[in-house]
């Protein structure tokens, strides 16, 4: 127990926790969207994210950047990041839709029990991660340095690096865009309608399968953005990188109230913060331990999460 470290390192821990939390939140949005519409834990989502981390690396290496190359200028770096986000998001969106079409849609047609969906989800997760494992020889890939990691702005003991600033602003931008899409557009209304009552929505002329496909697509897009941000933060990736981060993102979604978009964002950021504070107090080895402990305790006292479950409920 080292509370001194928590007190002295509080500003740094808060900023790093926020950036990590923003990444969790982006992935959690994918889980929560699918859960809100289908009542299904999309286990393969973590591996869709993993594919995105490779997509970003491939994009950068196509421009001649590898783990050892010198950092590009800031303008160049921002362009490269934007490009990587586009590639990774499209890749993730494609694979997310592929999972829905091959693993979930045939089961829905047969009205299979919920357990069957979970098994195909696990199956799809295996196929994606092990396929990528075989494809990359299970090697670890380094990420080229993009943005400087020296602090640019300091206020007292609070400081922020360009990398953290970019991560936070990109994540917030993506989340605001998603919120606008779901709350304000025609497509978003379709998603909320199907989440509320799929069969009635279908009777009202909403194409249920197309809406579900759309949900997987935008979940995948968010995972793609998260993949690029996570690449830059973690500086390396592997075929099994999705597992732990996906598990935590799911925990974040449950923490905020699964099926609730703003809840997922809140849960992700809270989990990132709690984890970072706890790792200062109990040591980094217990980072993951504390995350799950918080989740279990919260579920015991507030089983519907912090903000409650809702996507498309009347109050949303």
């Amino acid at each position: 127990m080292q509370f001194n470290e928590l007190i002295h390192g509080f500003p740094v821990l808060t900023i790093t926790g926020l950036t990590q939390g923003a990444i969790y939140a982006l992935i959690a949005l994918g889980y929560t969207l699918v859960y809100g519409v289908l009542r299904l834990i999309n286990f393969a989502h973590s591996d869709v994210f993993m594919i995105g981390t490779f997509g970003a690396i491939w994009t950068w290496s196509a421009f001649g950047f590898d783990a050892n190359s010198a950092r590009p200028s800031v303008g160049e770096a921002l362009g490269l990041i934007a490009l990587a986000i586009v590639v990774a998001a499209l890749l993730c969106g494609f694979f997310a839709m592929l999972v829905e079409v091959t693993a979930y849609r045939p089961l829905r047609a047969r009205n299979a029990p919920p357990l069957a969906f979970l098994i195909t989800a696990i199956g799809a997760s295996f196929v994606l991660s092990e396929g990528m494992g075989a494809f990359t020889n299970r090697r670890q890939f380094g990420v080229p340095a993009m943005l400087p990691t020296e602090p640019i702005a300091e206020v007292g003991s609070w400081s922020i690096t360009p990398l953290q600033l970019a991560t936070l602003s990109i994540a917030i931008l993506a989340m605001v865009a998603l919120d606008w899409f779901v709350q304000r557009t025609r497509f978003g209304r379709g998603i909320r309608a199907v989440a509320q009552d799929a069969n009635t929505a279908a009777l009202m002329g909403v194409n249920k399968n197309r809406v579900i496909l759309l949900v997987f697509l935008i979940g995948g897009l968010m995972a793609g953005v998260a993949a690029v941000l996570s690449d830059m933060k973690a500086a390396s990736t592997r075929f099994n990188v999705g597992f732990l981060i996906g598990l935590k993102a799911f925990a974040a979604a449950v923490l905020g109230g699964i099926g609730n978009l703003r809840g997922a964002a809140l849960g992700g950021i809270l989990l990132g913060l709690v984890e970072n504070y706890a790792s200062a107090v109990f040591g980094t080895n217990f980072r993951d331990f504390v995350g799950f402990l918080v989740l279990i305790l919260l579920l015991m006292f507030r089983p519907t999460g912090l903000l409650g479950e809702s996507l498309g409920r009347a109050r949303a």
Partner: protein, 397 residues
């Protein structure tokens, strides 16, 4: 395609009808012959007696690993699958961290029986290491207790949350085990775990490096467990479990104390998982944190659902297949000279069955759930439940 399917169905129906018509004595006799066959499986002499060409490839024998070792591995997976089958198959509770209980059993035996364990070398809590047989009941009791402690708060939650909490639990156990400076010694692990007791007539211990006695031991345990679980699921407890699986609210209204029986199922499954862990630790004689990766929990679940949840023999079949088939595929690869590596654009890729087995597994899981959601060897009642649901599907929705 349909022709093959109808013929296969007819064949299966014929076999099961003929089996049902046999007098009881014949049935018992045939089962006994089958059990003897199971005991003889790892003996090379058995294949020589049958006149199969040895030294070359034998259809059942595995070439890469010792057959008895492979069979033992199948054995502890079968035991795990039987335990998880109670939780998932009968009570319908989704447990994604089942391997955590296996870890509790294995670590209990390891810390108590190994002279290298920190209990003796650093903390001096006990005078001398325990024998394996004394640690075994404690291992089972502790994993049962772990099941109750975990189940007590969690079983009040909905199914999906149960899944994530059990997943988190297994991960937490692994994280605790990974701490180097703690009792479990992290990835360096605990070596020199005691073997089960017993001596041959010449004074050498029965349970040493040869895997055959362990296989026979675990086979005996499995056979005993089949009788135990069969009787349990035909009793009031088993009927309560099935009622909970089919409709929890209806069961509660009919006066089944659902929470109590769910906790029971959870604890029973956990105890069997711990038993399997204790047996495994006794054979392997070494335990470290990297043994308990989460893929293992998923693999056990896959075994149960592949074989057919809700049927003991389905769980046994599933547990056997998930270990044996990849191992057997390696042998087949050896015999037919399948390549282990291919070079694409100068880069070597590992294409051995071992490397790709989870990939194939994933595909098999998806295909089976789509075409045969009840599993390979399904429980009749559960298959009927699933058929009912399929009829309720809204066409075109």
């Amino acid at each position: 395609m349909t022709d093959v399917r109808t013929r296969w169905r007819g064949f299966r129906h014929g076999v099961s009808q003929r089996w049902d018509r046999q007098p009881k004595a014949t049935k018992i006799g045939l089962i006994l012959v089958f059990i003897v066959f199971l005991y003889a499986l790892p003996e090379r002499g058995f294949y020589e007696y049958l006149g199969l060409p040895l030294g070359e490839y034998i259809p059942l024998y595995t070439t890469r690993n010792d057959m008895a070792t492979v069979l033992f591995q199948c054995g502890y997976y079968i035991l795990l699958a039987m335990g998880l089958n109670i939780v998932v198959g009968y009570a319908g509770l989704l447990d994604l961290g089942f391997f955590g209980f296996f870890a509790v059993g294995a670590y209990t035996v390891a810390t108590l029986t190994s002279p290298n364990s920190k209990i003796f070398t650093e903390y001096n809590w006990l005078e001398s290491p325990w024998p394996w047989l004394v640690a075994l009941p404690l291992a089972i009791a502790l994993s049962l207790l772990a099941g109750v402690i975990l189940g007590w708060p969690v079983l009040r939650l909905r199914g999906d949350y149960l899944a994530i909490v059990t997943l988190g639990f297994a991960e937490m156990i692994r994280i605790v085990a990974q701490q180097n400076d703690w009792i479990f010694n992290g990835d360096r692990g605990i070596a020199r775990i005691a073997h089960p007791p017993g001596k041959n007539s010449d004074g050498s211990p029965i349970f040493a490096f040869d895997a055959k006695p362990y296989y026979w031991l675990i086979l005996t345990v499995i056979i005993a467990m089949v009788f135990l679980i069969r009787n349990l699921v035909r009793s009031r407890v088993g009927r309560a479990w099935v009622a909970i699986r089919e409709d929890e609210d209806a069961a509660e209204l009919m006066g089944v104390p659902t929470y109590k029986f769910k906790l029971w199922a959870f604890a029973m499954g956990a105890g069997i998982g711990g038993f399997s862990g204790a047996l495994w630790a006794g054979q392997n004689s070494f335990v470290n944190a990297s043994t308990f990766r989460l893929e293992q929990s998923i693999l056990v679940l896959a075994a149960v659902l592949l074989g057919g949840a809700g049927n003991i023999f389905g769980a046994i079949l599933g547990g056997f297949l998930v270990i044996y088939v990849p191992e057997w595929l390696r042998s087949v690869g050896d015999v037919f000279g399948l390549p282990e590596q291919v070079r694409i654009a100068g880069e070597p890729y590992d294409v051995s069955a071992t490397n790709l087995r989870y990939l194939f597994f994933g595909i098999i899981l998806i295909v089976i759930m789509i075409f045969r959601p009840q599993g390979l060897w399904a429980n009749r009642r559960r298959a009927a439940e699933l058929k009912d649901r399929e009829k309720e599907a809204i066409v075109g929705a």
